[in-house]
Symmetry: none
Subunit: 530 residues, 2 copies
């Protein structure tokens, strides 16, 4: 095992093969800067031969001042019928003028015969030609041996010959790709040892896919067996099940294997890089991601919580701050008093579990949880509840009554909107108003806010960005009770509230009221900073 | 390596430690039936000592007729200060009367000293006492050695002693748990070999967490080293980054390692089990999941697509149909048709994709799926849709109009019920009636059935047993559109229907109508037997 490994990021190339990823050139340039700032060694920017967007990227990326990363273009070996210098795809690679060029070639005889439909020898010539020609046009040349592991399993001698051709062509690094992601750890170890025996002095790399959920494991096992170059993507984006996830590989290399790949300082950026890039791709950040997920160091079970309060090592395999992540404690019916106290402290709500307020708050939380309340994802409701027991909630408003009317004529005419009317009282003023909505909850929401905005203009900033409904005790069918989780924002902050009731309107009403009260208290500086 | 491995599912216990998982007893019973049907050997149902919901589950699960799986309860070793027979947590385990009991004990000296705050020897006695006492109260006893790998790294002799105590106590299986998920593959292999050397004849199990994104790899490596019992959860639910994902472990064992764990027939259910359980948990199904994800065999890249059309092996590591999954080619709109045909055939609905009915049905299904319909768990609606295009649906009734009125006075008086009125037409008779309900959907449901029962007395047998709401496009807040899934029964059969609409009432109405029509057609012998 070597003590230094190079990180080759292909988020912008293989990552964009992911079903839900589609990037503008501007996005690609922004991501390039983020990756450079993270300290990866190589950034594979795209396949200039395959789409004009990527040509454009390579034109523009030259003007970025990068601190650390080298940009690589990506392409394939020359076509069978063409001279290397006449192959448009090869010409594009040269024209993108990147310091590094990476191409893939066929290692698996099945592909040579069935996909390329040429002879095994023709493929060897194609590899040699392409490598030796492109090597002249870049500082560093990387050869990706596509399907190397599958190829080796079917025809080891031939698979090794393809590497031989690339090495003779002058490749600086030979990357062994598990393109279909089907290779098992012990197969991978065995095959790498075979390659090392044949080419003891050639720097080797690994390119893994996650189709068997082994992408990260195989990548670090490859390093254990002497690989010095690891390819992957941020958050494991990629075709099908994705590429090997650099957000897990890098911490494993740094913190568990003691291998130098990015600096300790840069490692602290990993969590925010993972989130930022999801933002740019407009994808939700998976909270369960190892190392960088919001839940990666979140503790729910009561046993766990009481233990980590004594010593975090008891249930945390690493120190989250090393990755810019942090510990969280969740509140739920699985958890004891300790979670609630810990959470209250973190929110800066001084509450003593033996005080009158503490006891009554705890009693109410348990009661509400039995009714189906769920505070884990509803911090704002949780905070309001604690503050209520401390007598800190002001009487901002009172809803005296509301009516929701949903009248449908079931001829195929346009669906008519739902109507809601409300009477709200603020101090001694009463406001009676009505509003329409495309559903009962939406109509009620509109009516209540319309009435309150008269008194609290700030509420104009309030917007609901997420709304989730869960039916409880569902054996009662439509008579079941309902839990509603709402996420709100006022552009400055985001907060979550929860409501449970006999029906969706009542439950939504409670969550809406919490959201509005939280917003009003926030503007009065009466809630804790997040 | 053994050729037979037992699958121990802890979705209902460790899986519920996941931040976004909160299950009702009814959900747990449904999931129990799904897991049994999948053919897992053990189902860990919960921790009776830790919450009342789980005690309730163990009371009710006895009445399920399971085909294959054994139910296990879960708990911890006795408390230091208590006699084993007086420890409430131990008593709960005995009272749950499960054929299998699983408890965890401490293997890591750090935990013994810092979490339990007792001596190392006291912990050994605690393990021995607890195991030998509980072993008398079950057919099979499983001992989970919590933090075994971390424990072994810090104090191998002591970690092995804790296993010794459990073995002397009479444990049938010793499960080595990587509780913090921080163990690297080669460490795991080395430690397992150490345990085998000390206890050559003891059946060993593995319990992995995914904190280093190594959960699946470590689980199958453990099997390679002779482990015969593998614990995990469906879709890898679990605290923090989740438990080892059985939806990846099972296919790796079956298809790549040739190990017998579940039958080939049951393996075909894996994709739908993965989706169904996400639906029950009200979680979106991650399309990038290995083996069972919608994208696991979806091809986007042009090179890949043309190659797989020549030979799927070129870019697919296994045959997706073995898992009930299928290939998708993202550039072609043909995707999905085969699944639909497959499902129609399975339901015994003869439909030819080139017939007029077939084409129009397929077109409507595509349209509905884009609107957010989901037929995976709504077979009845799916069947009605196909039969509609075959012109087989009778005009049982027509709802001319309905009105729902929800009027609240928000003084703390009793909540007044919601009122619904409907006008329905059957043949040329019109029935106008009204009913109350504890919510808008419930009121409408009551009114419609009250009106129809006049014409179809059988509807008295119809009962809704499950009702789920999912908000689609939730960024729109309360204006989002809604999907409702309803499960109905008439004591003889169960069926699922789905509706999507702008609001919960409209969506529920559609699902309710499907349920009623399905019941009426069923009584007329016009639907296929399940």
């Amino acid at each position: 095992m070597h003590d230094q490994v190079k990180i080759f990021d292909t988020t912008l190339r293989d990552g964009t093969q992911s079903e839900d990823v589609s990037l503008l050139v501007e996005d690609k340039l922004t991501i390039t800067e983020i990756l450079d700032d993270l300290g990866v060694h190589y950034i594979e920017g795209g396949w200039p031969g395959s789409n004009p967007k990527d040509e454009d990227y390579f034109r523009q990326v030259k003007s970025l001042r990068l601190k650390h990363a080298k940009i690589s273009s990506f392409g394939s070996t020359r076509r069978a019928k063409l001279k290397v210098e006449e192959d448009p795809n090869i010409i594009q690679l040269v024209e993108s003028q990147t310091p590094v060029i990476t191409i893939f070639g066929k290692s698996w005889d099945l592909h040579v015969k069935e996909a390329l439909k040429i002879t095994l020898n023709e493929n060897l010539e194609i590899i040699y030609d392409s490598v030796q020609y492109l090597k002249k046009h870049c500082d560093e040349f990387i050869y990706d041996a596509e399907h190397f592991f599958d190829g080796f399993k079917h025809n080891p001698e031939y698979a090794l010959k393809t590497l031989q051709s690339a090495i003779e062509g002058g490749a600086d690094v030979i990357v062994l790709a598990d393109t279909n992601g089907g290779t098992l750890p012990w197969e991978l170890e065995d095959i790498i040892e075979n390659v090392k025996a044949r080419f003891p002095n050639v720097p080797l790399g690994i390119h893994q896919h996650n189709d068997s959920e082994l992408g990260v494991a195989n990548s670090i096992l490859a390093v254990k067996h002497g690989i010095v170059h690891v390819q992957g993507t941020i958050n494991g984006y990629g075709e099908r099940c994705g590429n090997a996830n650099l957000c897990s590989i890098i911490p494993n290399l740094k913190l568990k294997m003691g291998i130098d790949c990015i600096s300790d300082e840069n490692l602290k950026k990993l969590t925010s890089v993972s989130k930022k890039i999801d933002e740019i791709l407009n994808l939700p950040h998976n909270k369960h991601l190892p190392f960088v997920g919001e839940s990666a160091f979140a503790h729910k079970g009561g046993v766990h919580v009481s233990a980590i309060l004594k010593n975090p090592k008891t249930y945390e395999h690493i120190v989250p701050e090393l990755l810019g992540n942090s510990q969280r404690v969740l509140v739920s019916d699985l958890s004891g008093i300790s979670n609630i106290m810990y959470k209250a402290q973190n929110m800066g709500i001084p509450i003593d579990k033996d005080s009158k307020a503490g006891k009554s708050a705890l009693a109410e939380i348990k009661k509400l949880e039995n009714e189906g309340y769920y505070f884990e994802t509803a911090d704002a409701s949780f905070e309001l509840l604690l503050r209520k027991h401390r007598g800190e909630i002001r009487d901002y408003f009172e809803v005296l009554s509301y009516t929701v009317i949903d009248r449908e004529r079931c001829d195929n005419s346009e669906r008519s909107p739902v109507e809601a009317t409300v009477i709200v009282k603020v101090k001694d003023k009463v406001e009676h108003t009505a509003s329409l909505g495309n559903g009962p909850v939406n109509a009620l929401d509109n009516a209540i806010r319309k009435a309150l905005i008269v008194f609290y203009p700030n509420l104009a900033e309030l917007a609901l960005i997420d709304y989730k409904v869960r039916i409880l005790k569902s054996e009662k069918g439509t008579g079941a009770s309902v839990r509603v989780l709402i996420q709100s924002t006022d552009k400055k902050d985001r907060w979550e509230t929860v409501g449970v009731g006999e029906d969706v309107i009542e439950a939504s009403k409670k969550a809406l009221f919490d959201s509005i009260i939280y917003k009003l208290m926030k503007d009065d500086g009466l809630v804790s900073k997040r």
